[in-house]
Assembly symmetry: C2
Homo-oligomer: 190 residues x 2
């Protein structure tokens, strides 16, 4: 099983995790970028909460509920969605430590089906993939991604494919990852 949000499996007994600051750079930078878009009325795009199955809840006081047992569920859709220029926008963001390709086991079957559904429905849909060791973040549109899956039996997308069919998202001060600039170029060209 893959743990959502980069929660790494470890053998220690209990971990106290400060979830807002656990070195999830890509997620953090995308959230900051989306906050910038929201604050400037440009787009309203949010990360969905991590899907979990809650099985036990404590009520230690009148005003506070504490979840005492819950399990991560496999996501059936992508992480981010919202509205931009009146259109539905939807994407999945992933980091990889791999230097030569993006392993496809990062994305589950339901998510691929969802990407296909959104693409066919006319939504703006893409992947954001960061190669950590190359210090490079790509945007790959759904059509290019689905085309790769259709034509290849490989278990990973080589970096060359991102170079040939994707777009590099530049890192700036603010907004940090202006991915909508690329979407503008693509939409403008239709």
């Amino acid at each position: 099983m893959k743990y959502p949000n980069g929660v790494k499996q470890q053998k220690t007994q209990t971990q106290h995790i400060k979830y807002d600051n656990r070195g999830m750079n890509l997620e953090k930078e995308l959230n900051e970028t989306n906050r910038y878009y929201i604050d400037n009325d440009i787009a309203f795009i949010y990360k969905k909460p991590t899907p979990i199955q809650i099985t036990k809840v404590d009520y230690p006081s009148r005003n506070k509920a504490v979840i005492r047992e819950a399990f991560f569920k496999e996501p059936s859709t992508t992480d981010y969605n919202g509205i931009y220029r009146g259109k539905y926008i939807d994407f999945e963001a992933k980091e990889t430590n791999n230097k030569t390709s993006f392993p496809l086991d990062n994305i589950n079957k339901h998510q691929i089906k969802h990407i296909e559904n959104v693409y066919k429905s006319g939504g703006i849909c893409f992947l954001v993939v960061r190669f950590n060791h190359l210090n490079c973040t790509y945007l790959l549109m759904a059509d290019a991604f689905l085309d790769f899956l259709k034509k290849n039996k490989r278990k990973s997308v080589p970096i060359k494919y991102f170079n040939d069919f994707g777009y590099i998202i530049e890192e700036k001060y603010r907004p940090r990852l202006n991915y909508l600039k690329i979407i503008d170029q693509i939409l403008g060209g239709i």
Copy 2:
């Protein structure tokens, strides 16, 4: 604080809750309806997971993570969103036991701001409100809802307002709550 998803505050120590079957009729019926839309390639609309803040995770075995401590967070957006006819669609669903009006403390400030943002961006946005004791479910479009808030200082929306400016969602066998039929009528009329 309001607990999301109808989790009621109780004084018992620990509750084992079977979350899929806790009498949340409206949520269940909407999820079934959305499943029907997905299975028939009509629309791709999902309920967002409940937002929580995870603070402790156990790893009792190599393949299993158990959340041992987490807290409910107040939602900053609505519960449901997705894509329909190429457009962004977004709504909030609420049940009330009140017989004469819908109490506005059911919807927080961030959610109202979100509804406004989506409406202004050209998305399809509305509320689904079920009056449990009247056995009646209404759809109220964002513009009518925002107009009410603008013109009234009341803390609840009277049922008359739903009758005058909303639409009744009929309950059928399948799909259970065909709310997109109403959206079709409205979009068709533009």
